[in-house]
Symmetry: C2
Subunit: 346 residues, 2 copies
């Protein structure tokens, strides 16, 4: 199983509704009013989307704090990552990480250098820079999936310095950005750089994995090349409508950030009290856990019997079958998860 969220494969194994702790979606659900907005604008499906997505780009630009001409759009973040990879000859992928960082360039026939980031899972400039050459693309999750670690600001600035020195390019995948307690905003940091692209998406924070709306900040020159190579009309009408609605929902955005922060703190505290788990200090809405003297399959089966789907993490390069990843969800589900975990092996 390469990805989480595949409930369909397990539905027949549990008599009741499964709780999905394998994909990391805002537990507050979609913004209020989005459904009504889309229903009212339903006739948008009967015409081609604006091939230049002019209105949508304006909205994204305002949300990200950049110019319209610096906005990339994609059929999910993964499409943006894919097409950025096509623009470089060699892609450097520190791991463990989201599997598509190396899968996409590999499928595109690119040379991919996979670098193990070390047992502490901390991204450090000194570990990466020696491997980077002129023209390379370095891909970093920030926070990184599955570790949940946000890159330390000073380290990130050092990495960026190295990228500039070497004439390389940095792709930051920040699809979990809004879940993090605010420390720095990469777009503010690197807006003038010319060598950084920062990818975000509606998928996780706006609870819209079905809508497939990825967007990114990129320097104008790169944004122009991206436009030239990507498929026409790749954002469907409903995704476009959603984009025109969600970024204006200030109350929802604020509430979601607060809720997520409270649940994360509670979950980390509770998880750390459970014997047999090594809990990694996540910055966002999922948490990586190492099982002591146990394996993912046993816990998966135990949890499935309780109606919970967890993410086995051995499919991530660099992790073995002693790792799992858990989403941080709504209070009720989180409490039930903790209760089940406490009951395991006790």
């Amino acid at each position: 199983m390469k990805h989480g969220g595949d409930l369909l494969s397990y539905m027949h194994m549990y008599d009741g509704e499964l709780i999905d702790f394998s994909s990391n979606i805002n537990p507050l659900g979609i913004p209020n009013g989005l459904k009504e907005f889309i229903v009212n604008e339903f006739s948008a499906v009967t015409v081609y989307p604006d091939i230049k997505y002019r209105i949508l780009k304006k909205q994204v630009a305002k949300y990200l704090g950049c110019d319209d001409e610096e906005v990339l759009l994609g059929n999910g973040a993964v499409e943006i990552i894919n097409y950025i990879c096509t623009l470089f000859n060699r892609v450097i992928v520190p791991y463990p990480c989201f599997i598509e960082y190396s899968e996409r360039p590999t499928k595109l026939g690119k040379e991919v250098i996979n670098l193990y980031i070390g047992d502490d899972f901390k991204v450090k400039a000194e570990k990466l820079l020696p491997y980077i050459e002129k023209g390379d693309l370095l891909v970093l999750g920030n926070p990184n999936n599955p570790t949940g670690y946000r890159i330390d600001k000073e380290e990130l600035l050092k990495i960026h310095e190295g990228i500039i020195d070497k004439g390389a390019f940095l792709l930051l995948d920040e699809v979990f950005f809004e879940f993090c307690d605010f420390d720095y905003d990469s777009i503010e940091l690197f807006k003038e750089s010319g060598n950084v692209c920062i990818v975000r998406a509606a998928t996780k924070f706006f609870a819209l994995p079905g809508i497939r709306l990825g967007y990114a900040f990129a320097p104008k020159a790169l944004a122009k090349r991206y436009e030239e190579i990507t498929l026409p009309w790749s954002i469907n009408a409903f995704a476009e409508l959603s984009g025109r609605y969600i970024f204006n929902q200030d109350g929802y955005i604020e509430r979601s950030k607060e809720y997520s922060s409270i649940q994360r703190k509670w979950m980390l505290k509770e998880l750390k009290q459970i014997n047999g788990l090594i809990v990694f200090d996540t910055s966002c809405n999922y948490v990586l856990i190492k099982l002591i003297d146990e394996n993912e399959d046993n816990l998966f089966k135990y949890m499935l019997a309780k109606g919970i789907i967890i993410r086995k993490a051995s499919s991530f390069d660099g992790l073995d079958e002693t790792y799992i990843r858990l989403a941080i969800k709504d209070e009720k589900s989180n409490r039930y998860l903790i209760e089940c975990l406490k009951g395991w092996r006790s």
Copy 2:
């Protein structure tokens, strides 16, 4: 302007609602009940689509008359064409044709051989086969955009024979298939071939250009390779829902075919009576026209002043500024178009 349907660029030039004769969509609109179905199933956007699209593939397979494992899905037909092109080294593109047949492989860095199909715009085996070599991909629109010509069945069988002899592969773009008076079904013809992929879409016939749902028949071996290289979750939740609804609408499908056939015959008859036009005998829901002693810009401006957007056709390789393409729409719009055309230069 590479594509039709870009009303946004002209809206400010006309005081009223523009009638779009530049994109070729079923004038009966979307199937009844689709909106209600999607509204009822709206919560589908809050989860990832099934990464294997099992239910959707079953529906498409039934509609196309093939096996689930022979179904390809794409974010519009253009995504399918794009990824099929990635699997071949050289792409043969007879033109004039839909611009993406050569643009996509060119952008993928493939060798593209553009072949002019001749002044009669008829696809003939003898004109194409001499250029085709082992491992090539031949891409043909059927019916072809912008000519409206469906490939003669005997010619198509000859082309297929040549493809098999040479060890090449044939991609038929049949996104306008349902609009054609039934003569043959390529999927029936080539289901056992192993060397043909046939692309169709919800875009035109189901009047859903905004939904981005392309699908295709392909031999199992190719379908498997396609799965391996395409992006995950590229069909969004609403496109998936639409696919689960539209193929069961037998009444709508029948009505649309009949209506389209009647309007086509009427339009061809009327157009042929107008002086100064050479009208190409279309098989589907748009018609190519050559203007005698006139050019597309003049007619475009004249029509825009009447609230009609036509498709200038000089952007198609092989055509010059004396060609235009017109959609065949609903009776009222068609009558208005004919009236306006009759008034031009008279």
